[in-house]
């Protein structure tokens, strides 16, 4: 016992353990979300989905994971082996490191750094490099296409999403995710989408801009996670899954996991920015560290479900239409909103 405690107090060991903590969330979350996605898709499509493995197919995600683990891991002969192996992990690292700044509740946050949301924007650019790497290393023209499309897409959509985040930062006056949440503490009326805890007239005049910013961020976050209607980089019917065409087995699973983790990440950011983070919608009722985690995950999952819903309903955009939306619609509107918010906040 004492040995274990001693080991835990070792700074290296404790740092590693802390770094592993988000995995405790991501792995079960991915299983649940795979199940939810399949079930939602099926019900949208007039069918039942998994019904055989376990009660209503609840064991199916485990079976899927087992299958992926057992699969032969194929590396194409002509692929650039080192980069091919490295790429999925790089993508995952980009997503995973962002979890460090997610405030799950008032008591739990990986690293309460001052520049939380800024850090989040920065590390997600690692994902782009990983995707480019996977596309190039596969030595497949379709994969390269997918990678280039994906990089162009993510880089373009980072601009409106960063501008939307900037607007919120201007209102809350902080870049720390934890403080941003504290700023919205005190019930549904205090959420940033309703103007935060600023004076009443400021709140009222902020609401329209906040709603626009919220929509801008929602759209650009969907584009950043490559899901329909923005799944152009991996468009099944055009590019045959794009950058992950050549991947199989565990490496594919890592891509898959990264995609789902990323999905929660952007949903969580929406929640932190606009919907009060871990705060309870009922003020002090049902609040506290544990309830905080509950609210945070619940709100996040709601937006995950929104993404799933849209994915199975809408067709896909074309690549030039995608760029049009980003540069000619979202970015100018985001700039206007930032300007307006600046004026309101200063006055």
């Amino acid at each position: 016992m004492e040995n274990i405690l001693q080991l835990l107090s070792n700074p290296i060991v404790s740092a590693v353990l802390m770094a592993l903590a988000p995995l405790l969330f991501i792995l079960p979350y991915a299983l649940v979300t795979i199940y939810i996605e399949m079930k939602m898709a099926a019900h949208i499509q007039n069918r039942l989905a998994y019904m055989q493995t376990g009660w209503h197919g609840t064991l199916q995600p485990f079976a899927d994971i087992l299958k992926l683990l057992q699969k032969e891991d194929i590396i194409p002969t002509a692929a650039s082996k080192f980069l091919f192996i490295l790429a999925p992990y790089l993508v995952f690292v980009g997503t995973y490191s962002s979890f460090a700044v997610l405030p799950f509740s008032s008591a739990f946050i990986g690293s309460n750094i001052d520049l939380g949301i800024f850090f989040l924007i920065a590390v997600s650019s690692l994902v782009v490099v990983g995707l480019l790497m996977s596309g190039w290393a596969s030595n497949n023209k379709w994969s390269l296409f997918g990678a280039l499309r994906s990089a162009a897409q993510i880089v373009s959509y980072e601009i409106p999403s960063a501008l939307a985040i900037l607007g919120v930062v201007m209102v809350s006056g902080t870049m720390s995710t934890q403080e941003m949440t504290h700023f919205q503490d005190g019930g549904i009326g205090q959420w940033i989408i309703f103007g935060g805890n600023l004076p009443l007239w400021q709140k009222l005049s902020l609401i329209p801009f906040m709603i626009i910013l919220f929509l801008i961020y929602l759209v650009s976050s969907m584009a950043e996670v490559n899901r329909t209607p923005f799944d152009i980089p991996e468009a099944e019917s055009e590019l045959v899954q794009g950058y992950n065409t050549e991947y199989s087995g565990m490496k594919f699973a890592i891509f898959y996991l990264a995609e789902y983790a990323n999905l929660f990440l952007v949903s969580a950011v929406v929640v932190i920015l606009f919907f009060g983070g871990w705060t309870s919608p009922f003020g002090t009722f049902l609040s506290g560290p544990v309830w905080g985690a509950f609210w945070f995950v619940t709100k996040g999952m709601l937006f995950v479900c929104l993404n799933i819903w849209l994915r199975w309903t809408l067709p896909r955009l074309r690549v030039d239409q995608l760029m049009y939306v980003s540069w000619k619609v979202l970015t100018p509107f985001a700039l206007l909103c930032v300007l307006a918010i600046g004026l309101i906040v200063v006055m």
Binding site: A122, S125, V129, L132, W136, L144, L148, A151
Partner: protein
């Protein structure tokens, strides 16, 4: 050797090793990808120096912006793999002179700088740097800041103009 030192040497090795790959690799794509680790290592060292804003900016600008741009350029080049990059020795004399000058300059800076030693990360009270940077940018350094932004604006307008001129000849 405590944790701080281990991490420092780790980042230092990552930076230098990957920088060496950038220079010595014969495959231009490997060079470009290796640049990622160089930038990453530098960002890590910034963190150790308690310059968190700088570190994140390093990631955002160099990894998210410049590296992706370089990769785009490299990947859109035809026959990426077969491009032969010369890594042999040539033009020894001018190179030696330039390197010597550069080394002298760096050495001079190292020599004259009043190094801030003795305090480790644990001893420095962790405090925000972004506020000070922000304040400094719009008070003491407001002129360079504004000039830089004007230059960037000019660059954007120029880029847009260059992109447009090709289009204006054709009626699409």
């Amino acid at each position: 050797m405590n944790l701080y030192d281990i991490i420092f040497y780790f980042f230092a090795v990552v930076t230098i090793a990957s920088a060496a790959v950038v220079v010595f690799s014969r495959n231009i794509v490997y060079s470009a990808f290796s640049l990622l680790f160089t930038f990453f290592g530098v960002a890590g060292i910034y963190v150790l120096l308690n310059a968190d804003f700088l570190a994140i900016t390093q990631l955002l600008v160099y990894v998210g912006g410049i590296l992706v741009l370089i990769l785009f350029g490299v990947m859109l080049t035809t026959n990426v793999v077969s491009v032969e990059i010369k890594t042999g020795t040539m033009q020894t004399l001018p190179a030696t002179i330039i390197v010597a000058l550069l080394a002298g300059l760096l050495g001079g800076i190292v020599w004259t700088t009043d190094w801030f030693v003795g305090k480790r990360l644990s001893e420095v009270t962790s405090q925000t740097t972004s506020k000070e940077i922000g304040t400094a940018l719009i008070t003491t350094h407001v002129l360079p800041f504004e000039i830089a932004s004007v230059i960037l604006l000019v660059a954007i307008v120029g880029a847009a103009m260059m992109a447009r001129r090709e289009r204006s000849n054709t009626n699409i």
